[in-house]
């Protein structure tokens, strides 16, 4: 897996040239950087700050020149249909088998475990994609490029149509869950697979909702977010703020507090660094390609 050069391109020391100042404000990498959870109301970085941290001029994402790239195609819809079919088949088969054996608690518990672990899985995958590799990485290169674009223009995910947003995950789910549906006759396993794969497949929708505004989201979605069943807008917003090294989970977000407080990803990053020499992106100031284009973001707020 190739690694982008990660030395801070835009880092500027905050201490003055006259010597160390114990009370001077520190850049994120210098002083204790606490990972943020459920932060206070988010505020966009001042444009002056954006100017110092974004060396590239503001450019609208290319897909705004071609809005059709955000629309769903029949291919997208077909893959989402396949993914949903395999997930529902798994769920239905689990329910039937549970009913036949009169043992519902096991599959229900397995389903709940699937939901919980889907959140963890989404975080691990997201962390990996955000920190390692680039567009040329085999298999996941396109994903990395997509995440990079998402970090630069986070709001565009709210403009993607449903199937357009989900089809890549749906395709993977369809291929992986179909054999399980055909070969497995264990209600608990099927229950786990149904919830795990379903939550993974729909995680991009939960992610899109997490970028929405309260006034524009359905009431039910807001209620689920506020109940912690779906990842909250505040929690995910923290992921898009410096130091960009926390709140990676995007199903329910339930794992975020634990993973961040126990520095699990930091431990993994250190292990990968010392074992393989891989330096994660989050250790340095983000390059311009990964930094939010605040000017474009501000202009979309004006437009909307």
């Amino acid at each position: 897996m190739s690694v982008l050069p990660q030395r801070g391109l835009l880092f500027s020391a905050s201490a003055s040239a006259t010597g160390p100042k114990p009370t001077a404000p520190w850049r994120v990498r210098c002083l204790a950087v606490t990972t943020t959870r459920a932060p206070p109301a988010s505020r966009p970085k001042p444009l002056s700050e954006a100017a110092t941290t974004t060396s590239m001029p503001s450019t609208a994402p290319s897909f705004l020149d071609d809005p059709s790239s955000l629309k769903s195609t029949w291919s997208h819809r077909a893959w989402v249909a396949c993914g949903c079919t395999t997930v529902f088949a798994s769920l239905a088969k689990s329910a039937l088998l549970a009913a036949e054996s009169h043992s519902l608690p096991g599959p229900v518990l397995a389903g709940w475990v699937g939901y919980i672990l889907a959140d963890l899985g989404s975080g691990v995958y997201h962390w990996g994609i955000d920190n390692y590799g680039d567009a040329s990485t085999p298999v996941v290169g396109a994903q990395i490029e997509a995440f990079q674009g998402h970090h630069r223009w986070p709001w565009t995910i709210t403009r993607r149509e449903f199937a357009n947003n989900l089809h890549a995950l749906a395709r993977a789910v369809a291929f992986l869950v179909l054999p399980v549906d055909l070969l497995c006759d264990d209600a608990k396993v099927l229950g786990f697979v149904a919830l795990f794969s379903g939550c993974i497949m729909f995680s991009q929708q939960f992610h899109a909702w997490a970028h929405g505004t309260k006034s524009r989201l359905p009431g039910a979605v807001v209620a689920l977010q506020e109940a912690g069943i779906l990842v909250s807008r505040a929690q995910h917003a923290a992921h898009h703020r410096t130091p960009y090294n926390n709140n990676y989970c995007i199903v329910s977000g339930a794992w975020n507090a634990f993973l961040d407080e126990n520095k699990v990803f930091e431990a993994l990053e250190m292990a990968l660094f010392f074992r393989f020499g891989l330096r994660p992106r989050s250790w340095d100031e983000p390059s311009s390609e990964w930094t939010e284009d605040l000017i474009a973001t501000a202009s979309t707020r004006v437009d909307t």
Partner: protein, 213 residues
């Protein structure tokens, strides 16, 4: 917001368990007093009564090689300017020797900056601060310059001194350990503090001891 309720922390994988002394590497896990905490959330190593420095116990020779109450083996390492520095240079004053994994990693940067921010307090206590990692002098020079570190960084290439002093590794040997020693004016170890993921605590613990010396 619903949060994940995990089982009691003691049942978590040991590397993340804050209160399980067994999380310590084999080097000292059987030797820790019950009051010790894990190496990930603060660990003060104090010798058990049966392990006096002069003890010829096999365990002490296998596990922590430098214990509290001992004079650690001397060394000569290059500093960030490439000049050789011997530990005996600091005799006559307390010295804080902190081993850290590597320059330009998040925890090590936090720790170095924390030592820098409290450097005046260390000076007031008459102490010197010395950081040691396996990075070379040029890496130390860049690191010290970038974060304006006022203290000495030594290059322990090959981690020879780290092994001689018995600094335990973390994450099943994957990660060089983060361990700080406080030596008194006579060069005797008075504190050993280990904490990989809470680097700022090294400063608090060492200052606490220095103020009592």
């Amino acid at each position: 917001m619903a949060t994940l309720s995990l089982p009691c922390k003691h049942s978590l994988p040991s590397l993340l368990s804050p209160n399980n002394p067994k999380v310590q590497s084999s080097q000292a896990s059987l030797q820790l007093p019950k009051s010790s905490r894990s190496q990930f959330h603060g660990l003060r190593i104090s010798p058990l009564p049966s392990l006096a420095p002069s003890s010829s116990s096999v365990k002490s020779s296998i596990f922590a090689k430098v214990n509290k109450g001992q004079v650690p083996p001397s060394f000569t390492l290059k500093d960030q300017d490439g000049k050789p520095v011997n530990l005996s240079k600091f005799k006559g004053k307390p010295v804080v020797v902190y081993f850290y994994p590597a320059d330009e990693t998040p925890g090590c940067t936090k720790q170095a900056c924390a030592f820098r921010d409290s450097y005046e307090k260390f000076k007031k206590a008459g102490a010197e601060v010395v950081g040691i990692s396996g990075d070379d002098s040029s890496s130390h020079k860049a690191f010290a310059k970038k974060y304006r570190l006022p203290f000495t960084l030594l290059s322990d290439e090959g981690n020879k001194v780290r092994k001689e002093w018995g600094v335990p590794a973390d994450l099943f040997g994957t990660l060089p350990g983060r361990q700080t020693y406080v030596l008194d004016k006579k060069g005797v170890v008075q504190l050993i503090y280990n904490n990989q993921f809470q680097p700022e605590k090294h400063i608090d613990e060492t200052l606490k001891l220095l103020q009592s010396l």
